[in-house]
Amino acid sequence: MYGWIGEILRVDLTSGKVSIEEVNKNFAKKFIGGRGLGVKILYDELEPKIDPLSPENKLIFATGPVTGTRAPTSGRYCVVSKSPLTGTIFDSHSGGFWGPELKFAGYDGIIIEGGAKKPVYIWIADKQVEIRDASDIWGLDTHETTEKLVKETDPKAKVACIGPAGERQVLISAIINDKHRAAGRGGLGAVMGYKQLKAIVVRGTAKVDIANEEEFDEIYDESMLVIRKHPITDKSLPTLGTAVLVNIVNEYGMYPTRNFQEGVFEDAEGVSGEKITETILVGRRACYACPIGCGRITKTSKREGEGPEYETLWAFSAQCGVNDLISVTHANYLCNELGLDTISTGNTIGCAMEMSQKGFLKEKIEFGDAEKLVELVEKIAFKKGIGKELSEGSKRFAEKHGCPELAMQVKGLELPAYDPRGAQGHALAYSTSNRGGCHLRAYLIGPELLGTPALVDRTKPEGKADLVRNFQNLFSTIDSMILCVFTSFALNPYHYAKFMTAATGLEYTGKDLMTIGERIWNLERLFNIREGFGRSDDSLPPRFLKTPLPEGGSRERTVFLEKMLEEYYDLRGWDDKGVPLKSKLEELDLSR
């Protein structure tokens, strides 16, 4: 095959059996790879209602047909599993260098099954696979683990691993690769921890075969020109990073403050992208084949690391009312080392702070307490003291203490750094996301706030259902190829289709890719319906529907969800309960 290697590894950690399966061409054409491939395998192979932290759950590491080629931003991989945090299907993505290395080692993906009896790691080098003992690295943080495993295997090996949080099955734990890159969301680190799989180490020397090199060169040149001409991918993201959004979202009155009680953080400037550039920024870093390079290398007087990015910066500052950039940065470094999702960790701590403020907690956890923030990050990772309860995420924590409405989450996944009351389309994107509270299933912030590709009125619900649907379909495809969604500021389905055709030798049009995205979205929906999710889960915490924002650029706004949801179901070809109609499934070739 071209683009795809054509082989997937299946590793049963219970028996230690390793087998190789061929990638079916028809299957690949229909689901592409990455997210689509993982979702399809899990839909077919998982029994409904299994415990995500049991041997029955599977963990799929997947790349796509353009991973490891020269295509811009093709350095990504994803991990697909049933999430122990949300109970939904879940794909978590990461950049860096691990994904391409897996392909160079000879595999499109790895399906992990069962669970080991003692800690292990998997070592894959140019097709050779070994399950090795990891007893002596169990307990190490992600940086120590990476250094030790590189020493033990190959100086050029790439490591994806869990830290102490994943080992303890913390429900908001991440999988970390290349030390600083995270498949952060959904607690998939806990699935790895349950299976006692400390790391997957890969090293390969092969290259990805391209079907039509000449065509590939053409679309490469054309895309690079567009990326280099676009002010966001050429200037903004490389020079300012993602954190530039802090002041701007704050100005729109949508910067969630003190657990989404307000939309304006009075101290935003001191913990903004501009402030990072002035104080702690020492360099930038790009992932494999990325011409954008949004990564930030930072240094405080004590330490050096990567980040904080926009989301992390928010989670540990405005969300917790903290205005000390150094503490926020250290909380970020700690999450990378201990293996925690920064969004869910910061959001959950902010939730605890509001619970404390409102008298739902005995322990005093005050907004603005930077020292406490850093202490809690560590406690969550090691499940110490109140960290044990917090390690289950905001939904379970708030429910346990009798105030479920204070958890800022959708389907159990903590919400990110945009208050949905200020952008109706983004609110719909949160509520209908198949993996819960996430901004990267459909990034309506582009059209609603930043004017990309074109500005639409963020206060109006009209027309948003269609926009959300299109973004969701497009991003499902991008997540399956896999490219970084940041390319979508500059590129469109035409470019993606050209890359797919040149790389794989199979004909794809932009329209085909949108249909494939729709197929993947619907299959994820079917998975979630099988697990018991329905219309009532396509919702938002009551605060967003009933309590207007008190001040700022989105003052007095709430979300008009029901109206948009009805239109959305209708456009999707789903019934009023949110179940795909038979005709839609037939159209998408998903009926059995």
């Binding site: 966001i232 903004s236 993602t242 992208g273 501009e274 930043l450 004017g451």
Partner: protein, 98 residues
């Protein structure tokens, strides 16, 4: 009647003012965003117009954004959006991210 508006500059637009984040601008009469930009160019130099505006059309450059009290002027009267005493006007260049 003269009015006063708070101008906030973000990201690279701070270079226009030599790093100043917020500038309070006094305008001799009620005016529009266009009038404000003219006043800013008097205060900080003519190049500001080249940074903000498309020299051919005279419109705001694509992906540049201006907010008046949190509302994007592209959805108001664009450069002709009127300003009132006490308004906050934010200027930001093309940005993106997650």
């Amino acid at each position: 009647m003269s009015i006063s508006v708070r101008v906030k500059l973000f990201a690279t637009f701070r270079e226009i003012t030599g790093g100043q984040r917020i500038v309070v601008v006094k305008l001799s009469r009620k005016t529009t965003i266009k009038g404000l930009i003219e006043e800013l160019s008097k205060l900080f130099g003519k190049e500001i117009e080249g940074v903000l505006l498309d020299t051919k059309t005279g419109d705001l450059k694509s992906f540049n954004n201006v907010l008046v009290n949190g509302h994007n002027i592209k959805l108001l009267q664009k450069l002709r959006t009127k300003l009132d005493n006490g308004d906050t006007v934010a200027f930001f260049p093309p940005v993106g991210g997650g």
